[in-house]
Structure formats: C-alpha cells, structure tokens
Assembly symmetry: D2
C-alpha cells in the first residue's frame, strides 16, 4: 500500500494538523467497514481541525464576500477501518500559485497504516457568483501570517 498523491505534492509541512476519533457504528456498512463515502466526512473533520488550529476561518471568508466551494474531491482507498477502530486524519495544505485552496488528507489506523488518501480543491467565488482569478487579499494575508510560502 503506497502513499499516492501527497508524495507528488509540495505541502506546507508546518501547517499539517491531526484529527483523531473512533469509527462509530453508523459509519460502518454491511461489510463491517467504514462506508467509502464516509471518508469524505472524515476529510471535512480534518479540514475543520486544520481551520481551527491554523486560524483559517470559513465564516471569515463569508464576511469578506467570498464563498469557497469545493470543485473537486478525490479519494484513493488502500485498506479499511472497521467499526470501533481508532483513526487519525492528517490534513496538509498544498502549495499552489493558483487561486485555489488544495488540501490533502491521509487517514491512518492505530498501527499507522494508510487507509486512504484524498484531496479537495476549493475556489473563491464572489457573492455575485463570479469565480475569482486571484486569491482575495484576506486569504493572502492569512498565507503571510502562517508563513505559507516558507
């Protein structure tokens, strides 16, 4: 089982965060393993933890006149978590010069094995529904504050 995406990405190492939890009964499917679509929820929990720890506030985007819709989600599955299993989600931000927020997620079990890896891509859209070709200034400021480019 190999790490696919993250090895081909330049991520901002010092911003990577970890979210930990246990698989709940309602997250497992008739095979007793996490239903594949539920990892998208685990990614979202990872993304929210990333936001909390790094001060990236989605509400703040909104107040500044932008939504940040997800335009792509992608996930490669390697192994399966079972009901009751501990897991952790490592969330990393990918370096990009485009007006996008690309986050990479790796889900590990207790033994540190990679269960799946995925990515979400978000863009900036104004209140009028227009796609921003340049990242809004408050996002640039956030990048500077957290030393995104170092």
């Amino acid at each position: 089982m190999k790490k696919k995406l993250v090895q081909t990405r330049k991520i901002v190492e010092h911003l990577t965060t970890t979210y930990e939890s246990y698989v709940s009964f309602h997250e497992a499917d008739p095979l007793g393993i996490v239903w594949h679509g539920n990892y998208i929820k685990f990614f979202e929990r990872g993304r929210e933890e990333f936001g909390r720890q790094n001060g990236l506030d989605y509400g703040g985007f909104y107040e500044n006149g932008f939504a940040t819709p997800i335009v792509n989600v992608n996930c490669n599955y390697f192994k399966s978590l079972k009901y009751g299993d501990y897991y952790k989600v490592r969330t990393s931000i990918v370096k990009t010069v485009t007006a996008k927020i690309i986050l990479n997620y790796e889900v590990y079990n207790k033994e540190g094995e990679l269960m799946c890896e995925g990515e979400t891509t978000q863009v900036f859209v104004s209140r009028e529904g227009e796609l921003a070709l340049y990242a809004p200034s408050f996002y640039i400021e956030w990048q500077q504050k957290v030393k995104y480019s170092e």
Copy 2:
C-alpha cells in the same frame, strides 16, 4: 408485532400519502439492516412527499414569517429492512386542536409488514423566536383547503 401509535391517534385519512424507495447500501449497518437512525431520514422523505402531494409548503411557512421546528421525534422498531429491500412510508397527519403539526409515519416492507412506526411534532415559531400559541392563519387556511377537520 403490533401497530402502536397510529391506532390511538385520530388521523385525517384522506390526506395520507405514500413514499416508496429501496434501501441503499449506505443506509445499512454492520448487521446488514437499516441503521435505526436512518428511519428518521425515511420519515423526512415521507413528510416531504406529504407536503408535495397535499400542498403543504415549508418554504411558504418561512415567507409567512414562521419556522416549524421539530420539538419531538419518536420511533418504535418492530422488524428490520435489509440492504436492497423495497419499502414504503405511509405519512398521516394527526388531528389536534393545539398549535402543532403532528405527523405519523409507518414504514412497511414489500410484504406489507410493519417495520417501524414513528411520530414528529412541529411547532410554529416566529422570526423573533417566539412560540406561537395559535396556529398561524395561513396554516388554518391550508387546513380548510384540504378539509383537515372533516
């Protein structure tokens, strides 16, 4: 296994509606049966079908200045639907003189056996967050239009 609630309720027979579907893989749990909490989603689908067929429009409530939050949900489970099973939800409105919308849901399998039965209670809350002690006039009008009291 017996029909519990609906036999003790006065329902408006001619307004009862039926929603039909199949159990999807992601709705079943490690025992291969519908996870108990997912029946609350089936109830909501029943409630939405009830609204579509009887012209009870929740958006309309909103425009008229009211939200209709659910203040109680209750469900008794008798038998289990499995992945792939056909099911139908019969949704009935309960007669009440209080300022509440009480809906009763019965979920049946293909053989017509009762899987579970539940109820939701909704109240009317103004935009200021105040509980309405009397049903709003547009709800009364809806009741008259559909012959709720006959």
Copy 3:
C-alpha cells in the same frame, strides 16, 4: 428550557459518561443548525463512549449469542446547536428491573444549556431471533461489576 425525561428516571449516577465534539459542516441543515436526525448519531457516540468507559462491549454481547437491537428512540428538542459549536453528550443508564438497556442522553452546548434530551431502549434477542425475557447472565455480571444496583 426544562429537563424532561431524566428527572423522572432513576439513573446510575456513577456510570454517567461524557462525549465531547464540535458540530461539523455536514451535520448542519439549511437553517445552519444541526439537522434534528443527527442528534441520533450524537446519542450513538454517547452510547459508544459509555461502553468504552464502563466496559460494556457490544461485540461481547454478540459472542455471547445475543444482539441488543434498539426498539425505541425518543428525543425532545429544546434549543439548536449551530455549525462549529462545541457540544457534549452526557449518557446515563436508567435503572430498570426489566430485561432492557435504557440509556438517557442529554446534549449540552458550551454554556451548559440543554439542547435536547433523548432515550434509547434496547432488548436482548438470541441468535434465533427470540426476545429474552430475562437479562443474559453476562449482562448481570456486568451490572455487578459496575455496581449498577448501588
């Protein structure tokens, strides 16, 4: 806002457990608040935490030849959690002499206000699908170990 059920129940105080988390984006509805059916998931997380802390292992039931299906779930809603809100679930076991596991759940926000309160009732069913009229011996042993009756 009043505590309804738990005040009328005899609970085993020293077994009450607490589960803490934050409301995720996918748990909130178009009104920006937790969708009412998702509290059933919060109850399950509370129930699982109760099991982990008090050594009540559902897998163990299975190995001992019993399933413990939920036959009733009930929830009263008082206030609403919003996206991003911290919450905690207090899970208590109710004293009963019947062959049932009755758990009570209270969901609180950061300020300690009661958001909702619910209950689940589980019975013991043998592998042959027969309802147990007496609690199985391994459950009685668990009750003794945790001083359920004191």
Copy 4:
C-alpha cells in the same frame, strides 16, 4: 459548464441507466445546497439502479467468492442542487480491458444542466483478500450477456 470525464471515456451506451429523485432537507447544507459529500450517495443510488436494470448483482459477486471494493472515487462539481430540487443520475459503465469496474455518474437538474460528474473504480478481491488480476468468469459472462463489448 463542461462535461469533463465522460467525453474522454468510451462508455457502453446501451447500458446507461437513470435514477431520479428529489433533494431531501437532510441532504442540504447551511448554504441551502446539497452537501458535496452527499453526491457520493447519489452515485451509489445510480450504481444500484444500474445493477437492478442491467442484472449486475453485487450479492452474486459475493456468492461467487469475490468482493468488489471501491478503490477510487472522484467528483467534479459544476453547479449546485438546492433543497427540494428534482435531479437525475445517469450511470454509465466505462469500457476497460483491465480487471476493474469503472462507472461514470452525471447528475443533472430539471433543466438538464450538469451539476457534477464523477467516477468510481472497483476491483475484484477474493475472500482471501487477494486482488484478482483477471476479471472473474461470472463477470465475463455478465459482460457477454449484456453485450458489453459491442
């Protein structure tokens, strides 16, 4: 809004199926639109409808000694469905000579606009957990029955 993946894929036209439904309240997020992860559920409903209409039975795989886990899911989002919206999922099977089942999903609104498009890739795994390098014979038989190669 552009069709991305399906234009670069060779699909088996006469096997494409359609699943239709309405967006339920619990599928919409605080922005009032379908939460992005819920489209993975819509894909599964499309996949199940594809199976029902084309006689591709996942239970049958199991009886024949194989599981068909999803190893990749991918989705591109173009526009948003709102609460109450009608939608349909067009599910197509992609032509491949590898031992994989690749399905393509397109979600359309009532006006026929493309909301999102995605793909799932499934492999064949034996009961011993070994990846099959060649498609199992019963899958080849299914392909012949439905004229997959024509």
